[in-house]
Amino acid sequence: MANIFPRWSNLLPIKLAICAAVVGAALTAGCWYYFTPKYTRVGYMPVQPVPFSHDIHVSQLGLDCRYCHSFVEVAAHSNVPNTQTCMNCHSQVQKENPKLQPVRDSWETGKPIEWVQIHKTPDYVYFNHSVHVNRGISCYSCHGPVNKMEVVYHAEPHSMAWCLDCHRAPEDHLRPQSEVFNLDWTPSGGRTQQEIGLELKKEWNVNPPENCAGCHR
């Protein structure tokens, strides 16, 4: 019977397949770039109005986290320091540093500094800082080595699966209460994190919620 399709059309299926593959890849990339929720955006490192370096303040000057984030132990929300907190020191130290101009302006005008938010839990998640830091979970576990960060970035994927990993096996992160705010702490005395964690878990009767109501209300 007569040929309906020219010879070249024999390759058509392969060509189509390749096109499909390319388009598919493009779509995936697009979704990945535009639609991934904030809380899994690891590496997000926005420019802050004031180039505040946690590295200098914590690692070099040895400030405690709680000096600025003063309510982290009592409240669900860990507050960002207000201008007054900055000025406590910077009214004497680095008075002329141009980088601190925004802080001084804020203090004079009373206009707050607008820090860019990095870590954001969705509105339907009720995360509570106090219960974590009071029960041997270090800042480090969720925020990474902030004390070493010149500029703060999103260190961990704050996805539900990630939360559950710890809630199902808290021993991987539990540490002595005294070391919660010591971001450089590592298991010592020849004991592994596991051993320490399991001991504390037993001793403190740690049983993190694994049901919806634990975080969603």
Binding site: M1, I4, F5, P37, T40, P157, S159, M160, A161, W162, L164
Partner: protein, 490 residues
Amino acid sequence: MATGTSTFEQQKAEVTRVPLVTNNRSISWITQNISSIVEEKTPIWWWVAMMFTVPVALFGLFCVAYQISTGVGVWGENHPVGWAWDITNFVFWIGIGHAGTLISAILFLTRQKWRTSINRASEAMTLFAVCCAGIFPAIHVGRVWMAWFLAPIPNANAIWPNFRSPLLWDVFAVSTYFTVSVLFWYVGLVPDLATLRDRAKSKVTKFIYGIFALGWRGANRHWRHYEMAYLILAGISTPLVLSVHSVVSFDFATSVLPGWHATIFPPYFVAGAIFGGFAMVLTILLPARLLYPQLKDVITPQHIDKMCKIILLTGSIVGYAYAMEFFMAWYSANPYEIWVFLRNRVADPVVFGPLFNVPPAPYWWAYWAMIGCNVFAPQVFWSKKNRHNLILVFIIVNLVNAGMWFERFVIIVTSLHRDFLPSSWGMFHPTWAEIGLFVGTFGIFLTLFLLFMRFLPMVAMSEVKIVLPEADPHHHPEGPSHDKTTQVQH
């Protein structure tokens, strides 16, 4: 001698079967006349029909858009009636989409030759019905954009769907059913597509049919593979005929609600589905026969007769199920069950209400409409005369279509609207949005079917040819007529 011959003629007439294709048409006639439906110039009535069905379909789609953008509240559903027309229509259409697979798979495996002339159309009908059915569960949810939660895919939330939920089984059952039906239908189409390709005049049609014919050349190997594939697919889809509607029925059977919570549901739903499915096949084929007279030789009174018998059988099964439900409610001595059947459904103002000394049930009319259409109406098919009176058949099958819709409405709404706590009892009133959507699905269904009639062979030519006398290796074209002539010569 003459007398002798006459008795011989009579005996011969008695032993020869009524042929499946009348006026012993030849193979070429089949090809010619079936293909011509597709090839000849588009008839006026087709355009007229489309002018009706397309706007209706579009309005249905508008109702969908409105509901999704505004909220489920645009329907009449409320507390306590959380499901109403949406799921009613879903089950209704899924039921219709049942005959197709039954005819193509089960009748094929049981070597029912008469299926060949109707299976193509009924399979197409199945697909279109399932399309319509699919709309409802998809959009009845409050947040359709979150419906992907139903898919068991790994996700950042580390949550899986709830595999205990019959609604999830539904998702799997219906999608499987649809996929297999499509494959089955398409595989069956391939040889006919090739025929159309070869007969096509214009290059474009040749090209298009060519693509879908997958290079079919009718070679021996092709036929061998084709028949194997067809057999396997028939084998796969046979259990689906039973599974789909059983699973749909689990939505209700596994609940705690009186009127839903019944073990009889799966068989009763399957029977009901076949019942409604065949009714819809006839609803569509009878007009088609009028529009294309050549079909009368292929879809013969014998076919219609057989389908009527099936409707009569399944209708009686359904009737038995209704009776049995009622009996179980009474036999269980469970006041809640008894309430639903007697006080929500059966008790009418005239006969049963007074008989049981109870007030009329709010939905007694729906219940008795169901009984009338599904149980009483098909009984006329006991007489052969009625089965051959096409007008009557057409009326009855349409009653059955209505009755099957009422059946689902009765099951869903009358059970929900007055359940355990009288404090939460309420009534359901449909709104224009859900009525429009329901009507719209008919528009969608008919539009698709009209397109199908126009562009694809309505009858499986290759299969019908197989059941022709010509296809029989022992067929003698000269047989009886030869004798006759010799006698005349004497």
